[in-house]
Amino acid sequence: MKDAKTMTIILHSGDLDKVYSALILGTGALSMGMNVSIFFTFWGLERLKKGKLAAGGLSKMNFLGLGKRMMSSRMKKARVESLDTLMKDFKNLGGRVIACEMTMGVMGISKDDLDQTIIDEYGAVGAYLKEAMRSDINLFI
């Protein structure tokens, strides 16, 4: 859609609950007909490593992983979709994933460490700003 509204999200956190927030908002906005890009940076970039999308702990009450286990079982009971499913839907609906190159440099992460099948672009602050300056919603998570 040419005149579609746009949302950009900076996912700075790698915490499980925050990755959920980003992907639920992202897939929701795509479903409403918006264009969406998520810029994975700092701890968020860790979640783009192969098989690590759901590897984060909880941002609060993690209790060395115990809280995460409780939350995961409650989410399963409430039939919340897995992060892998949400990411698949995000991509299926045309959502864009941008990996922060600057973070890759700082943390010594190479492209081979990352799940390249889901990444659309590698970029730094300029890549984000180029999209953010013409977007209708900007979120920092």
């Binding site: 897939t27 929701g28 795509l30 479903s31 409403m32 609906l93």
Partner: protein, 72 residues
């Protein structure tokens, strides 16, 4: 006519599946979405309106709702 079964699915999955169906349907085709997650019953019509399709009706009985849409 395209049917989407979202029974037992929670937010945002019914909305996502509704969106996929609206994208994949032929113009004029009718889409029927069935689910039981209450917030989705409100969200899907919002998406229908924003995407410019036609909401034909919403029915509910015993906690199960059916939303019918015609793709523009």
């Amino acid at each position: 006519m395209r049917k989407v079964d979202c029974l037992g699915k929670t937010c945002p999955k019914p909305l996502i599946e509704a969106r996929k169906a609206m994208r994949d349907a032929q113009p004029g085709e009718i889409i029927e979405i069935v689910g039981d997650h209450p917030p989705s019953k409100k969200e899907i019509p919002m998406a229908v309106e924003l995407l410019g399709h036609e909401l034909l009706g919403i029915e509910e009985s015993g906690g199960v709702w059916t939303i019918r849409i015609r793709k523009k």
